[in-house]
Symmetry: C2
Subunit: 608 residues, 2 copies
């Protein structure tokens, strides 16, 4: 060992001890003949004091930032204590030292507020990882993983590894593929998830499985997506939805306790998918704040159980609302005093291409009970009041109204709500609100192919009450314009998402476990019997030999860590992430390969 | 929940309780109007008793092997107890039941001694996994992983995930590569190990890292190799070899304790590589038994520190020994009475192509003190005695002597020793003997290229005393015939292997952490500066910014589990293994991919 203690370990009661420390030179400060060095390692910082007698040696072996230093000496009580660090009561009077390795001047400072830009830090990720801010993230990640493992172990789950070199069965996202040298012309695929394997393990009787496992998706990378990502992947047999919800509420609460020391004792709220879409405009609502959507107008079929209140806006000859498919309002608390400049800025915000609206209507509910609106000339004060009341506005609030095509308007209102919540400080970083979203539709309509696609994945079971609808009807959509009238449009899935502060952190479902139903599902997605057999013959086969009822869930580990760590970027919680072009700029990968490799793999490039 | 209890849970003190169980029908036995069903799940087997009143229901819903059954009833004390199973004191008097899923007749029996052949079991692996024998292996695997994680956690190690999509830097084994759609013409590689990443983490200050992680090697698969395998991968900074040996002795002992309830209190023996090769003929000796090699003759240079005793065999005009490069004897205990048929059989055994010897000489040390040998006419009794004594033979032993080319003869004697040890029951399955093998050569000679290759990998440090030899000499081998005289031939590595019962279960080294030495190493392996920069520029760069002394070890997780489980096959300890052609016969992977995938990846086949 190059050290007797770490740099986070020594305290006043160690005073007088002979110790040897090792670490990196964080700072060097000279005071006359005396040199102070802050020595850093993973555990902390300890101050070293080099006295006059070491000056000659220091001159011959000058220290620099990030040098690796080993120093021996005596622990001494400081006269000038530093309450900010755990070792601040002591310092080491150095008697001898060795420079274990030198360092060039780092391209950026190794500090929380570094001067390094993103690209530079990624190129020198091994230096970036030295920064305390990044280290804390990886420590948090490790703690989350350990908490999950302990909880799952204590509940009888077994970690079982599933293979990485599997078969390509592209459904939805693209597979990464791996040419097989030993089987020329054939390819493995990297798993998008261990979905079918964990289901096979249920068929095999391993009734509580988990794995913290890398998954791969070759998607065009939007911000904050990684081609390789990690899931906490779980599956249980002989369970119903309620059992899974209870089990994994427990897991997440345990993670809160172990990692953040938060007792999340509150009941985790539940909301149907329809309610979430209606009330918040999206399927992963941030329920830390209200500002719920007031759906003034919406097309028939979209929310079949909901009642229209379009009478509040109809008949005023306001063309924007009259011609719009959808009109939605939100009441922003306490913003009635916004200036023209401020409302203009919000209008510009919703007109940005990412939001894509044409404009914004506002109604100020003034403190004195009067109303002021951008549509004063179409709506008198009583009508403005009726709209504001419907939106739940109180005196002092600002009602914002968006109008346009259904999906775009709903999404835009949802985004606007989140933006206003953020601006008003309603999305508190240290407040955590969990939510289950339930009863998703089983299918989504694919306009391009005029067919159904699985909203979750093809292994999700319909609600028991919808099984006969699914088996008994032909999935073909005769009339594209009326797809919402097809019986499949209303089939609900036995699926659930766990949402934390407006982010989906986990999702799962009760699975199909009957061959007939699974075949019907594949057929509904446009797979004929041959394709079913080629891609999923092993699973259909397994369902013939006593498959138990089962279901599961997968948590996005990177995302869960980033939210618990109070960051919006999952990259901050991955030791060696890739950039938005899927590149590792430190390794400079991907890269060209040798001719010999092409020859052995019997493939060649076919660049367009 | 479909059950109130598992099938391994109920005991006599549950008698009288109403319970619901679920599981698979293991056996059905009819006795008159009563039907007994053994219901199986992961936790055990419980006997169900279907009385006369359920006969009609059973006739309408006949049960079959492997059906998934849910049954409710009352726990009842058995009259006819079964001491072989944990639930053997009770049975369930069934009041109602539901068939949750049917099963076709399985292609083989779900029993420890199944009638299914290897191919069939692999195709239906999801059924094979139901067998208790396989389940126990996966449970052991989980227990080993958990013991390792707990030990490492308690010793301050952090689990940090390293990337799977990296850069191809083929050194030794071939990489699996992954075409990048977003970077046409470029490829990722799957990691053969996280070696360089864990070293970067040391540079970053995470001084105790571990990961239980999949690795990939595209090698021609010999028996019991898998293209994807799992490592317990560890690295420490600010350590010397002794620190690593101590830490991981602790880990393996903890695994013995947690998994096998074995207190491995003995000191773990140590042996240099040279001693292992000299005494056992290979670098991973099984030290559960003696039968050490008696090296009668060997070429100069092979073991420079060892003394020849060729005088024992020289000058007898026995052409076989005189012309042989190497002559090695072993004394097989208690086998002097072997018949001619038996010694002939052993002779045939060493003549098999896998062993490749031309013949075998034997000397029987009879109980009465006389000697009988197949080379009686060349060696008189006093010379036979001298040879037998040198081999450590006692009265009643059988001395076996092999002669031929050095490497082949050494390997053959080593194999013969292991074979005889096995036949004599000296390799006891329940005895575990750990051993460190130390001081490996740093380089191996590559005859084809007349150059050095790294014996371990290019990041292994030479012994500190050999660093100057390495830096100070030109690695080029001028005279191929005399490569053993090159100074590099004697450089020893700071490397260590952990051996268990004749299997390498882990290996590691103290790493190079100085840029100059790393460059010299790369150069010694034939890499010019440009290639070094292209392949390992990130690592050389990292060594410029304060790399600490560090080292580590990786354990072969699959192998470790198989030895602890008393099996010779790692496939038995992998949930979904591949066959010797690298195929998953259950999935039928690898497989052809779609034209669309080729187009998107901008590659095409180039079949020879």
């Amino acid at each position: 060992m190059y050290r007797t203690h770490t740099n986070g370990e020594l305290r006043l009661n160690n005073a007088g001890q002979q110790v040897t420390l090792a670490g990196w030179v964080q700072t060097i400060r000279k005071f006359g003949a005396i040199t102070f060095v802050d020595l850093r390692d993973r555990y902390g910082i300890t101050q070293l004091l080099f006295g006059e007698e070491l000056n000659k040696q220091l001159e011959e072996n000058p220290l620099g930032r990030e040098f690796v230093l080993q120093a021996s000496g005596t622990v001494n009580e400081r006269t000038n204590k530093n309450a900010n660090i755990a070792t601040g009561d002591i310092e080491i009077i150095v008697s001898s030292f060795t420079i274990l390795n030198k360092s060039a001047v780092p391209p950026f400072t190794i500090q929380d507020d570094t001067d390094g830009g993103d690209d530079l830090r990624m190129k020198y990720r091994y230096l970036d990882l030295r920064r305390n801010a990044v280290k804390k993230n990886l420590e948090l990640r490790y703690a989350v993983g350990r908490a999950a493992r302990n909880y799952l172990h204590n509940n009888g789950f077994m970690d079982i590894e599933t293979p990485f070199l599997i078969k390509s069965t592209p459904e939805g996202a693209r597979d990464f593929v791996v040419p097989s040298r030993m089987n020329p012309g054939q390819f493995y695929a990297l798993p998008q998830s261990p979905q079918t394997f964990k289901q096979l393990l249920m068929v095999s009787g391993y009734d509580r499985y988990y794995q913290i496992v890398k998954c791969f998706r070759d998607e065009d990378l939007r911000a904050d997506r990684q081609p390789e990502f990690t899931q906490i992947d779980c599956e249980m047999a002989f369970v119903e939805q309620e059992d899974i919800l209870a089990m994994f509420e427990g897991m997440v609460k345990q993670i809160f306790k172990d990692v953040k020391d938060i007792d999340y004792t509150a009941t985790i709220e539940r909301m149907t998918w329809e309610e979430a879409m209606w009330t918040y405009g999206n399927d992963k609502p941030d329920i830390r704040f209200g500002m719920q959507l007031c759906n003034l107008k919406f097309p028939a079929h979209t929310f079949p159980t909901k009642e229209s209140i379009a009478s509040l806006i109809n008949g005023a000859d306001f063309q924007v609302f009259d011609s719009a498919e959808t009109v939605i309002a939100i009441a922003v608390p306490g913003c009635a005093e916004y200036t023209r400049k401020q409302t203009d800025e919000i209008t510009e915000w919703v007109k940005r291409p990412q939001i894509g609206m044409k404009g914004l209507v506002f109604i100020k509910v003034n403190a004195d009970g009067t109303y002021k609106s951008s549509v004063d000339k179409f709506y008198d004060e009583s009508r403005l009041k009726a709209i504001a009341d419907a939106a739940g506005a109180k005196a002092g609030d600002l009602v914002l109204v968006l109008a346009g095509a259904e999906e775009r308007t709903r999404k835009a209102t949802s985004e606007l709500r989140l933006e206003m919540g953020k601006r008003l400080g309603l999305r508190k970083e240290d407040e955590f609100r969990l939510l289950w979203v339930l009863d998703f539709p089983l299918f989504e309509y694919d306009e391009e192919g005029n067919r159904w696609v699985a909203r979750h994945h093809p292994f999700t079971s319909p609600k028991p009450s919808d099984i006969s609808t699914m088996i008994g009807n032909n999935p073909v959509i005769e009339n594209a314009a009326e797809y919402l009238k097809h019986p499949y449009a209303n089939i609900k899935a036995n699926a659930y998402d766990m949402v934390l502060n407006g982010n989906e952190i986990g999702g799962g479902s009760i699975r199909i476990y009957q061959r007939e139903l699974q075949e019907k599902m594949f057929a509904a997605l446009g797979m004929d019997a041959e394709e079913q057999q080629h891609k999923f013959g092993f699973l259909l086969g397994a369902f013939e030999y006593g498959a138990p009822p089962h279901g599961g869930i997968a948590f996005g580990f990177d995302r869960l860590c980033s939210i618990l760590g109070g960051s919006e970027s999952i990259r901050d919680f991955i030791a060696f992430p890739k950039n938005n072009a899927g590149r590792d700029v430190m390794l400079d990968a991907p890269a060209a390969i040798d001719d010999k490799q092409f020859t052995e793999l019997q493939i060649k490039l076919d660049l367009q």
